[in-house]
């Protein structure tokens, strides 16, 4: 009956599986790097704002919609929007590469840019 019951090796096998799983979690689910700037695309123009400078900016989109973007503590969030659904406001703050806030009724998209993507920061 040498194979029945719990053996030391079983624990080692389980520990190896857990370790590999944790390493894979760390590698595959590593959060994106902190972004450098946000790119605001409205129907009329595209603006790039540095995340290093705090400030409040209002953009006008289509159908008379306006979106107010706040940059504070290296994060960007939509403070107020006069659209009915307020999806962009409830999205909350973004700060990591590739994160997006979209305000569909106004046709405004706010995207976080990484180090290599920032060409000219307009502030």
């Amino acid at each position: 009956m040498q194979r029945l019951g719990f053996k030391m090796g079983d624990g080692i096998v389980a520990a190896v599986i857990v370790t590999v799983a944790l390493v894979l979690f760390a590698v595959l689910y590593r959060p994106a790097a902190v972004g450098q700037a946000v790119e605001v695309t409205s129907p009329t123009r595209t603006t790039v704002l540095s995340l290093d400078t705090n400030g409040e900016y209002t953009f006008s989109g289509k159908d008379g919609q306006t979106v107010t973007l706040c940059i504070a503590n290296h994060t960007a969030y939509v403070h107020t929007a006069n659209c009915p659904d307020k999806v962009c406001v409830t999205t909350g703050a973004v700060s990591r590469n590739g994160e997006v806030i979209a305000c569909v009724p106004a046709g405004i998209v706010i995207r976080v840019l990484g180090e290599g993507e920032v060409d000219a920061v307009v502030s």
């Binding site: 009956m1 040498q2 019951g5 053996k7 624990g11 096998v13 799983a21 894979l24 979690f25 595959l28």
Partner: protein
């Protein structure tokens, strides 16, 4: 005393092999009736324990035959399913066999089953990555953690049923 005495006659070996293949196919069929598990695509792998018992009672070729027959039946559900079953099964049997040969006294059926379940999941995932979508790699750590659960279930079930099977087949005098 071996955990499962090997049959001495060729007829006994063939009979036992047929019994294991049939049990494995029946178990994977019955498993389809169980409620779905939280992870999409993941299964308990009850037939896994038959592979384990076949490995003990008939050696490597027993285990390989069982997974071959299982893959043949999986092929009925599609080429992808067949390839996944074959690749997962092969990796699983080879892992369990190596563990059995290399550290016979330090690892019980439970540890063997854990390693086999993890290897099975990774083999299936490898085929899914090739045939379906590369982004499925994000599934790997979840599948590994899940194999701890399925491996424990099949491992403890094997520990409980192996003596019963031994008594049953001992009565046949293979």
């Amino acid at each position: 005393m071996p955990l499962f005495p090997k049959p001495t006659s060729p007829a006994g070996r063939i009979a036992l092999l047929g019994l294991w293949c049939a049990t494995a196919v029946a178990l994977s069929f019955l498993e389809g009736w169980l409620p779905a598990l939280p992870l999409p695509g993941a299964r308990l792998g009850l037939s896994h324990l038959v592979t384990l018992i076949a490995l003990y009672s008939l050696g490597l070729y027993g285990g390989l035959t069982v997974i071959g027959v299982k893959a043949g039946f999986a092929l009925l559900r599609g080429v992808t399913a067949g390839c996944m079953s074959l690749c997962g099964g092969l990796l699983s049997v080879l892992t369990m066999y190596l563990l059995q040969r290399l550290c016979p006294h330090r690892v019980s059926l439970l540890g063997q089953s854990l390693a086999g379940a993890a290897a099975h999941n990774m083999g299936q995932l490898a085929i899914a990555l090739i045939l379906l979508d590369g982004s499925l790699i994000h599934y790997a750590p979840w599948l590994l953690l899940f194999s701890l659960f399925t491996g424990s279930v099949t491992g403890t079930t094997a520990q409980q049923t192996l003596p019963l099977f031994r008594r049953l087949t001992g009565g046949f005098r293979l």
